[in-house]
Symmetry: C2
Subunit: 395 residues, 2 copies
């Protein structure tokens, strides 16, 4: 179902970009897995395999003989060709039949989801195409891969919405578990158990999912839960996502642990929290098709800096899909590591996180991560955003 839909979408994207054919070239896909394969096949392949989609709608799967039955079952490829000794013969015949003036392959300096072709496999493909005079037709499939990743079908959006629902529900459940004296590890363990009870997957490695940070002395992000204990007067934040039928959520929420006698967060914490909420809303309102992500990042970054905080040391938001970090276009600053990503135009159907952060001295890190989908006219939250800091009682 997904594969049929995505292969049809790919044909449309090839037409749009006037690219004659797109080859995903892999081997032992259980060892190194090109992310495009998830839209092309349902089970790993063993030997050199080429999945070719053409602008005219013809589709070829050339695979080891023992993998043909599984591929035929998909009912997606007009030609399924099996071989025993080597792929070269079938592959050169297919390319000569197609006679393309452009051959897109999965490599990109600036987009990891478009860069599933290994260098050794590139050399092999280049050699095969050279022998028949097609090597100079090679182009990067970055545009094709990026659009295929970005344009979520209803099937995909439905799964992401379910993943988000579970995520928020588990966060809501753990709220009554969090208390002074509980460790980050204990809080994470509670949530992991919930994920497993529900038969869900983790949006990233279980050892870091959820990530839980309490107080001012943490690693701040991308670190596993520790034995650090929840303390009154501290801010706690968590970064958490699940996988529902292969699609991810990625959400952050901020908590404050009340001190004796407090009934609300103190001013410094509240100001930090409000700054983040406003930064997210300003960013969301500015998002829409045809805009560059760098502009959106700037809006949130400047708002935070203008209120006297340090700028956050990462992009404002990334796409989400089958991976927690997905897609090419990014809501990010013009930093070396982000390459061309912040300058790509946003498109309808993209799902983004918005996740600014700031430090409140002696309290901890305030950060919220929401998820939005880009529509014709703007961007909509995929779930109710956090508007109030979650308060934990001291006793």
């Amino acid at each position: 179902m997904l594969i049929k839909e995505k292969v049809e979408q790919a044909v449309g994207i090839l037409k749009e970009n006037n690219v004659d054919c797109w080859i995903t070239f892999v081997r032992e896909s259980g060892i190194v897995h090109d992310p495009m394969l998830d839209y092309l096949i349902s089970a790993d392949v063993t030997w050199h395999s080429a999945f070719i989609i053409t602008k005219s709608g013809e589709t070829y799967a050339i695979v080891g003989q023992m993998d043909t039955a599984t591929i035929e079952d998909l009912g997606v490829y007009t030609q399924v060709l099996g071989y025993v000794e080597g792929i070269k013969e079938h592959l050169t015949t297919a390319i000569k039949d197609i006679d393309p003036s452009s051959i897109a392959i999965n490599y990109s300096k600036g987009s990891e989801i478009s860069d599933g072709l290994t260098h050794g496999m590139y050399l092999t493909l280049y050699e095969i195409l050279s022998e028949i005079g097609y090597a100079e037709k090679i182009i990067s499939a970055e545009k094709i891969a990026s659009s295929l990743k970005a344009r979520k079908t209803d099937y995909e959006l439905e799964r992401m919405t379910r993943a988000i629902e579970h995520t928020l529900d588990i966060i809501s459940k753990v709220t009554s578990f969090i208390a002074p004296g509980k460790t980050e590890k204990e809080i994470a363990a509670f949530m992991i158990q919930e994920v497993e009870n529900r038969g869900l997957g983790f949006a990233w490695e279980k050892s870091h999912c959820p990530a839980v940070f309490t107080g001012p002395e943490t690693a701040e992000a991308h670190y596993k839960p520790t034995d650090r204990k929840v303390e009154p007067g501290h801010v706690l934040n968590m970064d958490f996502g699940v996988k529902f039928e292969d699609y991810c959520s990625d959400i952050q929420r901020t908590f404050y642990i009340l001190e004796d006698g407090e009934t609300r967060a103190p001013e410094d914490v509240q100001k930090g929290f409000d700054t983040i909420v406003t930064a997210i809303e300003l960013a969301r309102q500015a998002i829409g098709p045809g805009i560059q992500g760098v502009e959106i990042d700037k809006i949130a970054r400047e708002h935070i800096v203008s209120l006297g905080y340090e700028e956050f040391p990462h992009g404002l938001g990334h796409q989400v899909g089958r991976f927690a970090h997905d897609g090419t276009a990014l809501l990010g600053p013009a930093w070396e590591k982000y390459a061309q990503k912040p300058f790509q135009l946003l498109e309808e159907g993209m799902v983004f996180t918005i996740e600014p952060r700031l430090k409140v001295p002696d309290r901890g890190v305030v950060t919220i991560e929401e998820m939005v989908v880009i529509t014709k006219g703007g961007a909509e939250f995929l779930a109710e955003p956090q508007k109030e800091i979650i308060l934990i009682n001291a006793d």
Copy 2:
């Protein structure tokens, strides 16, 4: 523990091959995962990251700032360097400090476990090294990656042995479940439940693990279990492996379903079975350090053909490790798709499968897959090999 051991092993392998430094260069390793990373880090990294091991024993990890804490915890890298905007500055400084006359990187046409560097990342690294005059020092890390994969430490062998024990135990349990009328899917479901009850992983995709084939009309290999029912007079075989603490087993066993009145397998089935048992034993006896895999494949292949059967359409055996199909050296024929693999010399510490197969007309496929470890003087089975066909009663 594993990482410390493997990084030390890598330093030794660099010395042995007189290679000055080895760079594993990755980004978003949750999206495309270089298999070498499993020996270098314990959790995925987000941004461009370089893990550099030198012949002199110095080790560098250059990663995004937010990933540094996790890397420092490993206690394996003499230098952990974090960056916010881009990796180039730290990376060029490190390379100039090392001033290597050879830089091994993870690409290979003929070895997928040595080919984790994507083409886009190759282009990025090439450009960075070019600017400081080191691009022409690049060589393939195939030898280093292959030896690191192949030479199993005690830690690794212990986990593989446990994986095999569980595998054989589950096969033994399912034997009393198999009966005429049961479907391949039901048999697989029974075994999957056992894997999950034991908290084990699957050695390959759950949809195809175990693979169960009954009777003469199956896809024969690499196909998921179907609604085909077990029938008296047929041969059933299964291909099954589990993961115990990240290390795999890969085992096949053959069963015969007795017809009314039969107390043993009929002659045609028995002859096929004995042929496979002998082929495996002949191969095992010939295995040892310094021999080429192509020679071993030939021994088993010729034995089977000499008794009037068709040759099997795949190599005789592959290495096993963190993947069910692991390593570079192969017990296989000189076919295009196997490239240089069958000609690599076997080494002590390698773990191989031996898995010939043949068809018995109107009965099914007879196949056994055993696992052996190469020792100083030869090769030893890692568990009791199958010597008798497993008989299933008709009622």
